[in-house]
């Protein structure tokens, strides 16, 4: 199991050091600094073995988090734990920075004492942790016995992510379907790979211990219902598009065995914001934009670039924050750009022409052309021509996913599914959206 956990600043100074196992000595702290942080060559693996001691590290801005062990630990678990640690810290004091860590070091030690015991991760849900570890210190001195046992049963219980007795005057929930669409296209317009990775993020402000059921246009479910009989619902849904989900993963509140057997998504949600599910689709993706590049080398000192973008969705919808990034060679001396829409600039420091368009409706097209002057070099190596990348945001889900329902049941309190105010929003963003040129 994890033998120790260290946090360093960018210089390699230790900010937090907590050792859980006897086999990890103080020298381990220095070994990581010398061999990884101060290494002359960039370290090329997130797992490093130095003198039979293994170091796992992740970096957040300038901060290094390292877990150390001498045993054959579950490596995936260690990384998951390090990410979780970052989440917990962010939930307590915001951005992970040297200053914030120094300011909260006592709190961090308390958290580390609680969420790792002898190197075994324990309950790390912030919802539960915040009931007894706060930034002012530990609650507990002035609690009643009932309160204390409520805390402990929540921390160890089956529903460790939600406390009892939550009350809202207005029961409300927000569902965000956030998708990032990834594309790799060949210069000829052939889709080399495309997939959507999506997340359903839920903000729940519900009283009591509500039982929820979430439904979407999952092909498997809809096909099953279609077979079930000619009910009204089935008749309606067969008219709608359903989508094939390659794979999905759920927050730990979702009953996985129920999903496995009936493919229904039921759960008691944590309070506040959390990620209900992640999913991945590869079929029938709506690619919101198509990039058509044309690069021509005119002699050794000039390049001509023309890029056309076409929007491919309903004309009534508007895409926002469109940015096209056209890479330029390192020996570029000057660039002249002409674009029909938006603003384009050559950014020498980034070796790219950045073309920004604020808004663009569906089924439109726009074009940019640029002349790139090159300095003659004697470098034999050809320019690698990185792909043209694109950023955008569209108000629909490129995978075609639709939320069909989210039902809320709370039998003990007197509110019903109809009383809950529900909001659904779809946002599609570009992930790695690249076209080779």
């Amino acid at each position: 199991m994890i033998g120790g956990l260290f946090i360093y600043n960018h210089k390699g100074e230790v900010l937090i050091s907590r050792v859980y196992r006897d086999d990890i000595g103080r020298n381990a702290v220095d070994a990581f600094r010398v061999n990884v942080i101060h290494a002359r060559q960039q370290v090329r693996s997130p797992v490093t073995n130095i003198a039979r001691t293994s170091f796992f590290h992740v970096k957040r801005a300038n901060i290094w988090l390292a877990a150390v062990t001498k045993q054959n630990v579950n490596a995936a678990m260690v990384f998951e734990f390090l990410y979780k640690m970052c989440d917990v810290m962010t939930a307590y004091f915001g951005k992970i920075s040297e200053e914030n860590i120094k300011n909260n070091f006592v709190l961090i030690y308390e958290l580390l004492d609680e969420i790792l015991d002898f190197g075994y991760p324990q309950n790390s849900e912030t919802g539960a942790l915040k009931t007894f570890i706060t930034q002012q210190g530990i609650k507990g001195q002035h609690q009643t016995k009932e309160e204390q046992s409520q805390i402990t049963s929540q921390v160890t219980g089956q529903i460790g992510w939600r406390r009892e007795g939550i009350k809202y005057r207005r029961n409300e929930l927000f569902l965000d379907v956030l998708e990032s669409v990834n594309l790799l296209m060949s210069p000829q317009g052939q889709v080399l790979s495309a997939h959507v990775s999506g997340r359903v993020v839920m903000k729940s402000y519900l009283s009591g211990m509500p039982e929820c059921k979430f439904g979407m246009n999952d092909k498997i479910v809809i096909d099953k219902q279609g077979k079930g009989g000619a009910t009204d619902e089935a008749g309606k849904s067969s008219g709608k598009q359903s989508i094939a989900i390659d794979d999905c993963t759920f927050h730990q509140c979702v009953r996985l065995s129920k999903f496995d057997s009936e493919r229904s998504i039921s759960f008691i949600p944590p309070d506040g914001e959390y990620e209900l599910m992640r999913y991945r689709t590869t079929k029938d993706i709506i690619l919101p934009f198509r990039v058509i590049p044309l690069v021509r080398e005119v002699g050794r000192t000039k390049l001509e670039v023309k890029v056309v973008i076409k929007s491919n969705f309903k004309p009534s919808l508007l895409a926002q924050k469109i940015e096209v990034r056209i890479p330029t060679p390192l020996n570029t001396s000057g660039v002249q750009v002409i674009c029909m829409k938006g603003k384009a600039k050559y950014k020498a420091s980034e070796n790219a022409i950045v073309w920004k368009i604020k808004r663009m409706a569906g089924m439109k097209e726009s074009q940019i052309s640029a002349e790139i002057e090159l300095l003659p070099t004697n470098d034999k190596k050809k320019w690698a021509r990185p792909p043209i990348s694109m950023n955008f945001e569209v108000p629909f889900a490129p995978s075609g996913l639709k939320v069909r329902y989210l039902k809320v049941f709370e039998s003990k309190l007197n509110y019903s599914d109809h009383d809950v105010i529900k909001w659904v929003r779809y946002i599609g963003r570009s992930g790695i959206y690249e076209t080779r040129c």
């Binding site: 103080r26 997130p46 797992v47 004492d113 015991d117 530990i138 204390q148 089956q158 050809k382």
Partner: protein, 970 residues
């Protein structure tokens, strides 16, 4: 949410004014000041002081001198202060064991506290204080806490047992904590169960043979129930523990798999990987024809692909594991090639791993896509990545034969970029391609030679030198090229030196006349001027080989190379099996067994995949499935097993060249070559080895073995044979001759069609060839060469095509053969691989010769010898054949066979059956004894063949069949 963030802000500001300042105190006399503050009456001041102490501790300052003062602060009702003191205690108790005792009372008291959080804190901290005296006091509070009414305390106590075990294993056993821990597996609270499982698993690891975990169907059932209810971390502990269980039969295995599969949808990648581990392991026990087996395989792919959208560090762990899974069960991900395509901004460690998996998944179906990708990668910036991509192209060529040509042309394109490391890497892989597909892509050698000067890495230089040596006969200036390397011999790395030595020796064996000086130079450099024992040894071996037995030298140096494996760096099957049991862990990331990086007894235990017991209806026997389990889906071994023992027999029987029957030839040229060398060696050796004169003498007097070289007498005999051709088939002087068959169609040889047959005429072996020019241009400069073959057939003279061959013209050529060429067993035995060259190209084909051409004229055995030999040859060497439908009497058979040098020694008649006893001698001196039974009036005969080399029996039978049948038809 808003109130929360606002609160955060406030606290943030509050914290700013307090905590970070502790890091800044670096004055002298600090310890002294702190001491005073710690002993202050004011609570707040005390707390501040302890915080400063912890901050100093964190940055590595030694604050152990403050031990008594800090411990004094422990008796407080301020929980925060208490926690800080505990933190300090855990760090320094070991260095101050006597004073640590002072803390015991407080711990014991805290373990009785009404607040469960404080009870748990006390028992948690106590376990971390590794001082024997304190450990003794720990036992009683721990026992109580293990049975505490509060689950939070119980789950903490469960881990504490593992802590205590780490300090004093005996104590844990004596106090009976292990049993209490086992009871906790049935606890009502899932987190207690999970921690108990984790603690027990850890303790069990250090007692490999104990039956601590005692997993049985009942306890497994409890674990599986807890799995649905506990935290993500608890699920990992339970799944990792489950993976150690071996189900009793396939049904139990299936039911566990069914209950574990829902975990594949968990958001936590570690849960997913641990579930994959359990499934991969238990799947071994499922019969492959089971529907469920197929379903399970299908279910595994999507979650594995999903892991690739996790954070990069986790992707890395996932990819390392997928690498194992792809080797173990390639079918799972074979359609998922695209997800492993490298993204431009993937971290380098992810890129390199993806590339590895891409090559593993490459197949004929997806090779076009893969190659297009690899070509992209080869233009990236990261040198390591580019190199690996280039290497990957080579590996694709070797793995997917259909793609070889495209791979080679891609590599040539890359060489044209002139990027130094790309060129070098490409040359290294082209060498492997040459080895895999000999005689196919040599046309690119010229391009490679152009880049000779830019090679500065040993591996690339060595590869290039190998290519030059291997194809010395096709590279006109091979000697110059190698000579250029020789100039800086001593500055080269060992790898290059060794390769250079071998290459020059190869060159010498191929072109002895021109390269004599060169070989002497390299031998002396390697033996006299080098400190490297490997180089010296190899030098001496070559030297002696060349001076004593050039034929042997040729056989050694130009030996057939074993085939190179399609899959490189595959993990060895037993290791792969062990690593499969460690999916998700560090072992699977390092691809090393835990024993390679874990100290002590922990994890040294080797894990094995379960073996499917033959319980079900499946017909597979346990042994068979064991074999399947042990070496599943592994490709054939990398090196083709060496030639069978038979060849040794064939060779050993008689190595001396045939005496009277051999073709009349004078191996003059090589003889001269050897002489020259002999002299040279003599003088060279004289200075170095004391005994060398004898060696030199031996060489001079040795009967110069004929290295396959054109004989001067051959043209004449070749012409003679042309006349013979007119005589046609069945002439009494010659043996039976098979009609000509097309050996090389014009399509495959740029318009040259070759047909031919073999014959033995007047004791001379010959190959009769018709060359037809079906191309548009004139062909000239014909030459022929044979690959080594079972009986050492080699051209005894050059291929005599007197005039240029015009389009649509056919010429008949007869090529005399000798049987003293290099020997290598072929499959089938009578296979002959031939290379024919003309002004256009070199073409290769293989043909089979009838064994009868090898029957020598003096094959008649004495009767007594025959009898003795017949008895002498063991009965298992006897083969029997039946020749059907041949209407021939024994006399006719005798005479017809005689014309093929099959001699009848005796004849016996029993019950209307004629028994003919016949002997045959092959060119290499092997005797074949035959008993032929001819039934008068019946259309068939029986034959038994006895020979020390039983492999030839089948060929002899074919020969008999053909001779007897053809003649009976005539």
């Amino acid at each position: 949410m808003e109130w929360a963030s606002q609160l955060c802000e406030n606290r943030h500001i509050g914290a700013k004014m307090t905590d970070s300042k502790y890091f800044t105190t670096t004055k002298k006399g600090e310890i002294f000041e702190l001491k005073a503050e710690l002993n202050s009456d004011k609570k707040e001041k005390k707390k501040e002081a302890v915080k400063k102490v912890i901050a100093s501790m964190t940055v590595g300052k030694d604050v152990s001198a403050l031990f008594p003062d800090v411990v004094n602060c422990m008796q407080t009702d301020n929980l925060e202060l208490k926690k800080l003191v505990y933190l300090y205690l855990m760090n320094y108790a070991k260095s101050q064991p006597d004073m640590a005792i002072m803390a015991v009372n407080t711990f014991v008291k805290d373990c009785e506290d009404p607040n469960p959080l404080i009870r748990a804190l006390a028992v948690r901290t106590m376990g971390c204080i590794r001082v024997d005296k304190i450990t003794e006091y720990l036992c009683e509070p721990l026992r109580k806490c293990l049975k505490d009414e509060d689950p939070y305390v119980r789950k903490t106590a469960a881990v504490c047992v593992a802590k205590l075990h780490d300090i004093n294993a005996q104590l844990v056993e004596d106090q009976g904590f292990l049993d209490t821990l086992k009871d906790l597996i049935s606890d009502s609270n899932p987190m207690v169960v999970a921690n108990a499982v984790a603690a027990l698993s850890e303790i069990a690891e250090s007692h490999p043979n104990s039956n601590l975990l005692d997993l049985n169907p009942q306890s497994i059932n409890k674990l599986l129930t807890a799995l649905n209810e506990c935290t993500e971390w608890g699920q990992i502990f339970i799944l990792d523990c489950l993976a150690n269980y071996t189900p009793r039969d396939d049904r139990e295995s299936q039911s566990i798999c069914e209950r574990v599969t829902p975990r594949l949808s968990h958001a936590n990648s570690a849960v997913v990987l641990s579930a994959v581990k359990v499934l991969m392991k238990f799947m071994e026990m499922l019969p492959k024809d089971l529907d469920y087996y197929g379903t399970l395989l299908k279910k595994l792919a999507p979650p594995l692909v999903t892991l690739l959208s996790a954070e990069p560090e986790l992707q890395y762990v996932a990819l390392r594991n997928i690498n194992l899974i792809v080797q173990k069960r390639p079918e799972i991900l074979k359609h998922e090639m695209k997800v492993f395509f490298v993204k431009y901004n993937d971290p380098i460690y992810v890129k390199l791993e993806k590339l590895d998996i891409m090559i593993r998944l490459a197949s004929q179906a997806n090779i076009a896509q893969v190659l297009a990708e690899l070509k992209e990668y080869a233009t990236e910036v990261d040198v390591d990545f580019v190199r690996k991509a280039v290497r990957a192209i080579g590996r694709c060529a070797i793995k997917v034969e259909q793609s070889a040509e495209r791979c080679v042309s891609t590599l040539l394109d890359l060489i044209q970029t002139k990027v130094n490391y790309v060129v070098q890497e490409a040359i290294v892989v082209i060498k492997d391609i040459f080895r895999k597909y000999p005689n196919k892509y040599e046309s690119v050698i010229a391009t490679l030679c152009e880049n000779l000067d830019s090679l500065d890495e040993p591996e690339a230089r060595a590869a290039m030198i190998w290519i030059v040596g291997e194809y010395a006969e096709r590279i006109d200036n091979a000697d110059e090229l190698l000579e250029s390397f020789l100039e800086g011999f001593h500055d080269e790395s060992t790898q290059v030196q060794l390769q250079l030595l071998t290459a020059i020796v190869k060159l010498f064996l191929k072109k002895p006349t021109e390269t004599q000086e060169l070989v002497q130079q390299v031998l002396s450099l390697a033996t006299q001027d080098s400190d490297n024992p490997d180089l010296r040894d190899r030098g001496y071996i070559y030297w002696r080989l060349l001076s004593t037995d050039p034929v042997a030298a040729k056989e050694v140096v130009l030996a057939e190379k074993p085939l190179i494996s399609e899959e490189t760096d595959l993990i060895e099957p037993t290791l792969l099996e062990e690593l499969t049991c460690h999916i998700g862990t560090l072992a699977s990331v390092y691809h090393k067994p835990p024993s390679a990086f874990v100290e002590g007894s922990r994890g040294v235990q080797h894990k094995r995949l379960p073996v499917r017991a033959g319980s079900g209806e499946s017909s597979e026997s346990p042994e068979a499935s064991q074999a399947v389990g042990a070496v599943p889906d592994t490709p054939p071994p990398a090196v083709i097993p060496s030639q069978g023992d038979l060849l040794g027999d064939l060779l050993n029987l008689d190595l001396a060249p045939p005496t009277s029957s051999g073709p009349p030839q004078v191996p003059s040229m090589p003889m001269g070559g050897m002489d020259l060398l002999g002299g040279g060696l003599d003088s060279l050796l004289g200075g170095d080895l004391g005994g060398s004169p004898a060696m030199g003498g031996g060489l001079a007097s040795a009967p110069a073995p004929a290295a396959a070289a054109p004989s001067l007498a051959a043209p004449a005999s070749g012409l003679d044979m042309l006349f013979d051709l007119g005589g046609g088939v069945g002439m009494p002087t010659g043996s039976f001759v098979v009609p000509k068959a097309i050996w090389l169609p014009a399509m495959k040889a740029k318009g040259l069609e070759i047909s031919g047959t073999f014959a033995r005429r007047g004791g001379v072996l010959q190959m009769e060839i018709s060359l037809t020019n079906k191309a548009m241009s004139v062909m000239t400069d014909f030459a022929v060469q044979f690959n080594r073959n079972s009986f050492g057939l080699a051209p005894a003279g050059p291929l005599q095509v007197l005039t240029p061959l015009s389009p649509n013209q056919t010429t008949e050529v007869s090529l005399p053969l000798s049987t003293v060429g290099p020997v290598m067993k072929m499959e089938p035995l009578n296979n002959l691989q031939v290379a024919v060259k003309n002004n256009i190209d070199v073409f290769y084909f293989s043909c089979q010769y009838p064994i009868s051409i090898l029957f020598v004229e003096d094959g008649k055995m004495e009767r007594q010898v025959f009898l003795a030999t017949w008895k002498d040859i063991p009965n298992e060497n006897e083969s029997q054949f039946q020749i059907k439908d041949c209407h021939v009497n024994s006399d006719a058979a005798t005479s017809r066979l005689q014309s093929c040098n099959i001699f009848t020694i005796a004849k016996r008649t029993v019950d209307n059956q004629d028994m003919l006893y016949q002997s045959i001698k092959l060119t290499n001196g092997i005797w074949i004894l035959v008993e032929l039974r001819v039934q008068t009036g019946s259309p068939g005969c029986m034959m038994s063949v006895k020979c020390r080399a039983p492999e030839v029996a089948q060929l002899v039978f074919q020969c008999y069949e053909m001779v007897l049948k053809t003649s009976s038809e005539a």
